[in-house]
């Protein structure tokens, strides 16, 4: 390891699975070249990193992790996009991932790709959890409105 962990993670691309892709398209505006807000689109998130981080947090909070997923979407954005937008979110994700690691060596503990993979597995789990929730009768429109996000956050146990 030649570099500090956070710097190393920041340079790496975030990979994510197909459940997250679905959630991303449901709740985030399309990021277009030059600008990322289309006027007709009033989805809650305006950047992909936001929906990724949100799904990951949902995954961590609810203990939902999808392991072994090939995480085929590998070219979306670098982790530093999250760090630049919100250091708190980026650091929290890394620390939560470290908290979930069961390793015996320091080298493994500080493996940036491993950390990113754990975050993405929870993001995939969180995305799946949200999609399942929306399939529950009465919850089909869950997270279609801003209030739902506040409710979920405010009412966490």
């Amino acid at each position: 390891m030649k570099e500090k962990l956070i710097a190393d993670i920041n340079k790496k691309k975030v990979w994510y699975g197909n459940e997250l892709l679905k959630v991303r398209d449901l709740f985030s505006r399309k990021e277009e070249k030059g600008f990322n807000i289309t006027r007709a689109d009033d989805k809650f998130f305006s950047n992909y990193w936001q929906v990724y981080a949100w799904a990951a947090i949902i995954g961590f909070i609810n203990g939902k992790r999808v392991t072994g997923d090939p995480l085929p979407n590998k070219t979306s954005f670098e982790f530093q996009v999250i760090s630049n937008a919100s250091e708190n979110i980026a650091n929290a994700l890394v620390l939560m991932a470290i908290g979930k690691m069961k390793v015996i060596s320091v080298d493994k503990l500080l493996d940036s790709r491993d950390i990113l993979t754990i975050i993405s597995e929870y993001a995939e789990g969180g995305a799946k959890h949200v999609l399942e929730l929306r399939e529950t009768p009465g919850y089909d429109a869950k997270f279609n409105f801003a209030g739902d996000y506040f409710e979920e956050i405010f009412e966490r146990a």
């Binding site: 390891m1 030649k2 570099e3 500090k4 962990l5 956070i6 998130f45 936001q50 981080a53 949100w54 947090i57 961590f60 909070i61 937008a85 919100s86 708190n88 979110i89 650091n91 929290a92 890394v94 620390l95 939560m96 470290i98 908290g99 979930k100 690691m101 390793v103 320091v106 503990l109 500080l110 801003a146 996000y149 506040f150 956050i153 405010f154 966490r156 146990a157």
Partner: protein, 707 residues
């Protein structure tokens, strides 16, 4: 002047022909609100002046309006008039008054006038409209002969019969009492004195003798000049007198012109103030609205800011709510990292740690010499091995350093997050409260704005803007008038000073002139005549001043008599007339301000009525007093007193009022006797068809003769 009969036909609530007879003395038309009293009053005013006193929808205030802007026909005729059908509305008033042709103050018998205004309405596609504008016809009957006046003579006859300066208190509405002439203003008082008192007669006589004096002295001067009996100095005196007289005449003219301008300006100012009275609320409302709207904008901006900020905070921090435990869970792994760092730092080596760098140690190994102790270092020796280990230490240290940095950084983030995250719920709740309060405020402000428009009875702010602008324009006008008045008053005062000094100078020159005319030319007939004219001049000037003083004293006396009667001798003040009209304390003579409404009304009525009363007594010129709700600002006792006492002051009074319905039949009969009421009518608004509903189309006013 005595009104004899009023015939009202199809006018407002008066359906068909309605006749009212009146006589000298007090006549009363009584009725509840909405019975038709005010329309009875309007019948008079419409006939004579083609105006209706009605509410202006836009300004929510009653005002005099051209009759063509008001539907004066009975609504009851709307359903019964076929399309194309028509009906006529008319009011005719017959009265006895002085012949408008006769010279002033002649003792000829009054003639009978019949004023009739008539208009025909037709039911057209666009509703009821007048076929031609309402037309006035004036007939007068003299010595049994009827004459019809040409339209060109109408205004002149009206002005003669109803002098403009007294119309306001000859025809008045209780509601418009504020609009009565304000006699506290000197020009207003003087205008009334000049138009309806006996004082102008004396003033005129004075002018005549002044002219005679001038004329006779001219003749003397001419005579003396022809006889070459004037010295150069005496000639100069005549020239000076002539110049001074011309200058004084000119300046008197300017003074009168200025006084008239001031009078008009003050009148205009009063009118503007009255206009503003109904409109100043719009300015207040506009200011209030602007404040409310500014606050609303501010609150909305804050709500928008909170909305944006809330979402930003949610995405950037609040999403981590309750993640503390998960972050705390990173502790053991970070401790493992720390342990590794400790372990790697635990290495022992006799070679000091503070060597310059790995190159230095490498040189020592190559040279096989320890540059620290200057001793040879043999390969495989302990010292050689220690140096080799130190070389590795540099690499190891770099790794430990990186590990340490990672540990420190992660630990710092962890600590920060564990401090920040527990506050999220509190922060969200606080944010929510703030937002709720702002939303409540926004709704309350919205309601206040709506209420404000509801109060004004307006749809939107455009209306308010227009009115407020008009009000501001009037405020601006008032400022201009005030500035103009101040400037003119200064000019007037300067003119009066100049006049005073020139009059003194003229007096002095005349004294010199009289000295030499008396000494040298007493044989001249003109000079003897001049002596008599001077005598007239002096005596009539004194007479004129006395007449003025007497008039003021009589006005004061009559005003105070009426004032006391109207207020049942409970008045706290006394009316003084001199430099305008004022009320002073009966005991201390100090001016009284803040009189109650009853006292203000009584004072205005008393002075106005004193003028009319004196005009009638001293000059045999009487005007009927036609008043709608004159007692509306008075209580029952004062109403009773006013009624009992007002009758004695005038040849004829016609009062329309709702204030008599408060009296029992017994009290009313007592009042009719005590006040010597000549005619008492009660007007009731009745349903035409008892089962026809409450619409105006099913109503008419019916008069019942009580006396």
């Amino acid at each position: 002047m005595i009104i004899r009969q009023v015939t009202i036909c199809n006018f407002f609530c008066y359906l068909g022909e309605n006749k009212f007879a009146f006589d000298e003395g007090l006549n009363i038309v009584s009725g509840r609100n909405g019975s038709g009293k005010s329309q009875f009053f309007n019948a008079f005013y419409w006939t004579f002046f083609d105006k209706i006193y009605t509410e202006d929808n836009a300004e929510k205030k009653k005002k005099w309006t051209d009759s063509r802007n008001v539907a004066i026909y009975p609504h009851a005729l709307i359903p019964v008039t076929d399309p194309g059908g028509q009906f006529t509305t008319s009011v005719s008033v017959s009265f006895n008054a002085d012949d408008y042709n006769k010279p002033a103050y002649s003792a000829e018998e009054p003639v009978t006038y019949i004023f009739k205004r008539e208009v025909t309405f037709r039911n057209t596609d666009r509703g009821f409209s007048a076929i031609i504008p309402a037309e006035l016809s004036i007939e007068y009957i003299k010595d049994g002969e009827t004459f019809i006046l040409s339209r060109g003579e109408h205004d002149m006859v009206l002005d003669k019969i109803f002098p403009k300066s007294i119309r306001k208190f000859m025809w008045y509405q209780g509601e418009t009492m504020d609009e009565l002439y304000n006699f506290s203003k000197v020009p207003t008082l003087n205008a009334a004195i000049n138009e309806i008192s006996y004082f102008p007669k004396y003033d005129f006589m004075n002018k005549v003798v002044i002219a005679a004096d001038k004329s006779i002295n001219k003749k003397i001067e001419k005579e003396l000049a022809q006889q070459n009996r004037l010295t150069r100095e005496q000639n100069a005196i005549y020239n000076d007198i002539s110049f001074l007289e011309k200058t004084i005449d000119l300046k008197e003219g300017q003074k009168n012109e200025l006084a008239e301008q001031l009078f008009n300006l003050e009148d205009e100012m009063t009118r503007t103030e009255q206009k503003l009275e109904g409109m100043d609320q719009f300015v207040e409302y506009k200011v209030k609205l602007a404040q409310l709207e500014a606050e609303l904008r501010n609150v909305k901006d804050k709500i928008d800011d909170i909305d944006i900020n809330t979402k930003e905070r949610l995405i950037n921090t609040w999403m981590l709510n309750r993640c503390d435990k998960l972050i705390k869970a990173s502790g053991p792994n970070l401790e493992m990292l720390n342990a590794e760092i400790q372990q790697q730092q635990a290495h022992k080596n006799p070679v000091p740690m503070n060597l310059p760098g790995p190159e230095y140690v490498e040189q020592m190994l190559n040279d096989k010499v320890c540059y620290i102790c200057e001793r040879p270092v043999e390969p495989e020796s302990d010292a050689y091995e220690a140096l080799k280990r130190r070389l590795n230490d540099f690499e190891l240290n770099a790794q430990v350093k990186l590990l340490q940095e990672n540990y420190t950084e992660l630990n710092r983030y962890r600590k920060k997050l564990l401090t920040d995250l527990p506050k999220i719920n509190e922060e969200i709740a606080e944010n929510q409260t703030k937002q709720d309060n702002l939303i409540k405020r926004r709704n309350a402000l919205g309601k206040q704005i709506n209420n404000l428009f509801a109060d004004l009875g307006m749809e939107g702010r455009a209306d308010l803007d227009t009115r407020a602008t008009a009000a501001q324009q009037n405020v601006q006008k008032l400022k201009t008038y005030r500035a103009d008045i101040t400037a003119k008053q200064k000019r007037l005062s300067a003119l009066e000073q100049e006049l005073m000094s020139q009059k003194a100078s003229l007096f002095e020159k005349k004294r010199v002139r009289d000295g030499f005319t008396k000494a040298d030319q007493s044989n001249l007939v003109e000079s003897q005549a001049a002596d008599y004219i001077t005598l007239f001049l002096k005596s009539i000037s004194v007479l004129k001043d006395r007449a003025y003083d007497t008039l003021i004293a009589e006005l004061e006396q009559e005003s105070n008599r009426l004032y006391a009667l109207y207020l049942d001798n409970k008045q706290q003040g006394r009316i003084t007339i001199g430099n305008g009209v004022h009320v002073v304390d009966v005991k201390t003579d100090l001016p009284l301000i803040d009189l109650n409404q009853g006292e203000v009304v009584a004072q205005k009525l008393a002075v106005a009525n004193a003028f009319l009363s004196l005009s009638e007594r001293k000059m045999n010129r009487s005007y009927p007093l036609i008043a709608d709700a004159p007692s509306s600002d008075l209580d029952a006792v004062n109403t009773y007193n006013l009624t009992v006492n007002i009758g004695g002051s005038f040849e004829q009074i016609i009062i329309m009022s709702k204030d008599y319905i408060q009296f029992s039949d017994h009290d009313l009969n007592k009042l009719i006797v005590e006040a010597n009421v000549k005619h008492f009518y009660r007007i009731d608004n009745q349903y035409i068809d008892p089962n026809g509903g409450t619409s105006r189309q099913n109503r008419r006013s019916i008069a019942t003769i009580i006396k």
